[in-house]
């Protein structure tokens, strides 16, 4: 029993978690800048959907940005200015987290504000926001600031900084569940077996980046793409763990997400997914001795 428990606390390199701590906030920051021109129309007090209506869609126990912005009212800061202050604070926290300055505090604030943003923007929210929120939560609860951080102290023994392996495994298992669930869900529908899913996805105006109407004449291409998607997603849980197949499966996953980015324009979603596999499985977890002069 004791040995079983101790296996969760075997020290492994802090770099995979640190890679996520640097990469995810930077991606979120780029995304925030990308959306900056429209953030107030999505989330502001004078946005497309009034706050009273977005409140109907959110979890009543989780505060959205409007609730937080209203907290500034006693200070004489209006709701509109309050939202701008919160969004600026969110950007600052993401940068601070990426740099590793007071990592836990930065992660808490970045996670809290991201949650507020997602909660109040639930009408316009999609899968990538949910994933970002989940992995910001992990950056908050796990010791993400032990490596590649401006505020980190060097390990005294000449060994690199470590984290308990359980932290890494929880995130890895979660990522495997995500792929398996997405893959099995797709496999239950006929569209992913006969190629119609790929055809429908690349033909929708929201996703279409190229004119791929010629695919209708070569239906074996979308069919093969559909099968490949199922193989990569369902096979992920089986082939990403063994060292012999890990690199190959990472390349396959990379191909899947580059394809999604290129042919469906979901660049932010693809970037986040590539980052997750890249950090959690491809950064070696073995702690190495530092060369001591």
């Amino acid at each position: 029993m004791r040995m079983g428990i101790d296996t969760w606390f075997r020290p492994v390199s802090a770099r995979p978690l640190a890679g996520l701590r640097v990469g995810l906030p930077l991606l979120l920051l780029f995304h925030l800048i990308w959306l900056s021109g429209d953030l107030l129309s999505l989330h502001g007090s004078r946005g497309i959907i009034p706050w009273e209506l977005t409140d109907l869609l959110r979890n009543p126990w989780v505060p959205g940005l409007p609730t937080l912005a209203k907290a500034f009212l006693p200070l004489g800061i209006g709701e509109h200015t309050g939202i701008i202050v919160l969004l600026s604070g969110y950007a600052g926290c993401l940068l601070s987290l990426a740099l590793g300055l007071h990592s836990r505090v930065s992660a808490f604030l970045a996670w809290g504000l991201h949650l507020g943003l997602v909660t109040s923007g639930s009408a316009s929210y999609y899968g990538v926001d949910q994933l970002a929120s989940t992995f910001l939560f992990y950056l908050l609860v796990f010791p993400s600031g032990r490596a590649w951080a401006l505020g980190a102290h060097a390990a005294p023994s000449g060994r690199e900084e470590t984290i308990p392996v359980g932290c890494l495994r929880v995130m890895q298992v979660h990522l495997c569940v995500i792929y398996l669930s997405a893959g099995v869900g797709k496999a239950l529908g006929r569209q992913w077996w006969n190629g119609e899913a790929i055809w429908q996805a690349v033909s929708q105006p929201a996703f279409s980046t190229f004119d791929l109407s010629w695919l209708a004449r070569y239906s074996w291409i979308p069919m093969l793409a559909g099968w490949s998607t199922l193989a990569v997603e369902i096979g992920y849980v089986f082939f990403i763990w063994p060292r012999r197949t890990r690199r190959e499966w990472f390349v396959a996953t990379l191909g899947l997400h580059l394809g999604i980015g290129l042919f469906m324009g979901l660049i932010f979603f693809s970037s986040v997914m590539i980052l997750l596999t890249g950090c959690l499985f491809m950064i070696p977890e073995e702690a190495v001795e530092r060369a001591v002069a």
Binding site: L53, N59, V170, Q204, A206, L266
Partner: protein, 167 residues
């Protein structure tokens, strides 16, 4: 003892992750259901990951037809002039209005909010028709024999600017 508690926490968290992915947490009711939904909202454990599964649904959009007192008429969508990422989010908003807001009064309120935002952007217009549309894409075999995609109206409502809200 501390380690045992931490391992138990890891285990419970991962159990919720698995249950969410299997669409089980949404079936929980009462205190347990509320608790798991709250924890899900904070941590993401309990989410389901049905990205384009089991099938790719139709794209939804909001189209506005604006009319001026002089008889002019022009059309635009929420996505007009926006980046792809913003356009995608606004498309989701149209989906939310149509699918999530099942209550007629709530849907009407959402459509009214959308109409107000367009009338605000076009002070010269006095009437706006808001239409939620879905993209009807033929299958590959239908496309090969000549069928072509089109937008189909699912729901529409017309709003008129009253004297009280003239700019």
């Amino acid at each position: 003892m501390k380690r045992l508690l931490l391992v138990a926490a890891f285990g419970c968290h991962l159990a919720l992750v698995g249950a969410g992915a299997a669409h089980l947490t949404s079936r929980l009711h009462g205190v347990l259901g509320a608790g798991s939904r709250f924890y899900d909202a904070l941590s993401g454990a309990g989410d389901s990951y049905s990205f384009f599964a089991p099938a790719v649904g139709p794209q939804l959009r909001t189209r506005f037809t604006l009319f001026t007192p002089q008889g002019e008429r022009f059309e635009e969508t929420l996505e007009t002039g926006k980046s792809r990422e913003v356009g995608f989010r606004l498309g989701n908003l149209a989906g939310t209005v149509y699918i999530v807001a099942r209550r007629t009064d709530v849907r009407r309120a959402f459509l009214g909010a959308l109409a107000a935002s367009r009338l605000g952007a076009h002070p010269g217009a006095n009437r706006v028709q808001v239409t939620i549309e879905e993209w009807v894409m033929p299958t590959m075999s239908e496309y090969r024999v000549g069928a072509r995609p089109r937008w189909r109206s699912l729901h529409d409502a017309t709003f008129v600017r009253t004297a009280r809200c003239q700019p």
